[in-house]
Amino acid sequence: MEENDLKNKFKVVVIGGSAGSLSVLFEMLPALRTDLSIAIILVLHRKNSADSSLSALLSTKTLIPTREVEDKDPILPGNIYLAPADYHLLIEKDYIFSLDYSEKVNFSRPSLDVTFESAADVFGPDLTAILLSGANDDGTEGLIAVKKTDGFAIAQKPESAQMPFMPQHAISNMEIDLVLDIKGISDFINSLATH
């Protein structure tokens, strides 16, 4: 397998959300700098229809190129990638996406744990994983994997979440690096982008 050139390394942010996370993105995306030198990957629990209109909707909130992932698409800085409905989203060592239609994890496909773990494996310390609003416990195991490979773990401040259970579950069960409200999250991503 071809190794990624070290010079081309860039930071990656994986954002996982479930119920109540869409409104967070609607508020957060317009606040992001458009000259991002990082890649942002969104994994959201949603209805498993093949309908791709969510990426079109998210595109209206930012000038950063935003699209739904197709199998084996490369990961490049300056882009926002959305996990397609009803597939797990995995990442290969050579910075390309692979899709996977195996069993649901935490009753979910895409599962946040699956993408967090796969991203941790590939990006290690270059990864920031952010867990947003949601009503189940998907994501916590994944954030633990992110910490294990020296990545950075952020949870949305439960008081700022429509559904506080998911970020609260992570905060209660592991060592989260930062707990941020919505503005805090967009400020943090902007600060990554300029370093």
Partner: protein, 273 residues
């Protein structure tokens, strides 16, 4: 998800064993997915270490069978992506219907849900009698399920909804007999299905087809193996034949793309030369 880390070099060793001893070549499978499947298998079968999984595979042929079953993903459903089946039903089958004889290949068919979906649509279009559906997979145990045509009854509600959304107008329950929590699909649907093992990694073209379906199989392959499989499909399609892939799969990275034209919305391509 599972508390075990496996180094990439260890996976290389294991895949090398499996190839050298048993002839199954998984070395060009998508590594991220494969790694997950191997870690999952270690958890399911409670191997305390990776070395013990490797030893068991090397020494027990029966366990290799289980390894192949669990490493490959066999999740599928009837009429998955109803809009795709609707296009097949309304746009593709009428074209195929003009031929004296219809040959269809379901490559990597797993337990056969999509093959039976196709058989139902051909039946409803009055084309089943002059059709042959080749159902192939590398894994003999999933093909045994295709042969039986028995699926969990609990799935039928979902399949019935998919069927209706795909444009089906009959009562879906007339296609199976329910018994002891199982649904046995009608025998007439199986009569035109030919079942055989075929490995997209190592086997070649074996016939010329009017339609090849290979949905959500290529996602488990790396780009090189995808290219091999796509060339094999190209070699196995007649001119103006159709190739159908999964909803997030694409020809955009392949050299065969220039010879194919994609239909409007769905992941269906027509071979132009």
């Amino acid at each position: 998800m599972y508390n075990m880390t496996i180094e990439d070099e260890e996976i290389d060793l294991l895949l090398n064993d499996v190839f050298e001893i048993y002839g199954y070549d998984f070395t060009s499978y998508s590594r991220a997915s494969l790694k997950r499947r191997i870690i999952r298998l270690c958890a399911l079968d409670k191997f305390p270490s990776f070395a013990e999984l490797r030893y068991r595979i090397r020494s027990e042929e029966d366990y290799l069978k289980r390894f192949v079953e669990e490493i490959t993903v066999n999740v599928t459903e009837m009429f998955r992506d109803p809009s795709f089946y609707k296009v097949l039903r309304t746009d593709i089958l009428p074209i195929l219907g003009t031929k004296p004889f219809i040959r269809i290949w379901h490559a990597g068919c797993s337990t056969g849900e999509e093959v039976f979906s196709m058989a139902i649509m051909l039946h409803e279009a009055n084309l089943l009698k002059k059709s042959l559906l080749y159902a192939t997979d590398l894994n003999p145990s999933v093909l045994e399920k295709v042969r039986k045509g028995i699926f969990p009854l609990t799935q039928m509600k979902q399949y019935s909804e998919n069927y209706i959304a795909s444009g089906g107008t009959k009562d879906f329950s007339t296609y199976y007999t329910a018994n002891y929590g199982q649904a046995k699909l009608n025998q007439e649907l199986s009569e035109k299905i030919i079942i055989s093992t075929h490995n997209l990694v190592s086997d070649g073209s074996f016939n010329e087809f009017d339609l090849i379906l290979c949905r959500n199989v290529l996602i488990y392959f790396d780009k090189d193996l995808q290219e091999r499989a796509l060339k094999l499909f190209d070699d196995s399609l007649g001119t103006l034949g159709f190739l159908a892939l999964g909803s997030k799969e694409t020809l955009k990275f392949s050299t065969i793309q220039s010879r194919f034209r994609q239909l409007d919305k769905e992941k269906i391509w027509k071979k132009m030369i």
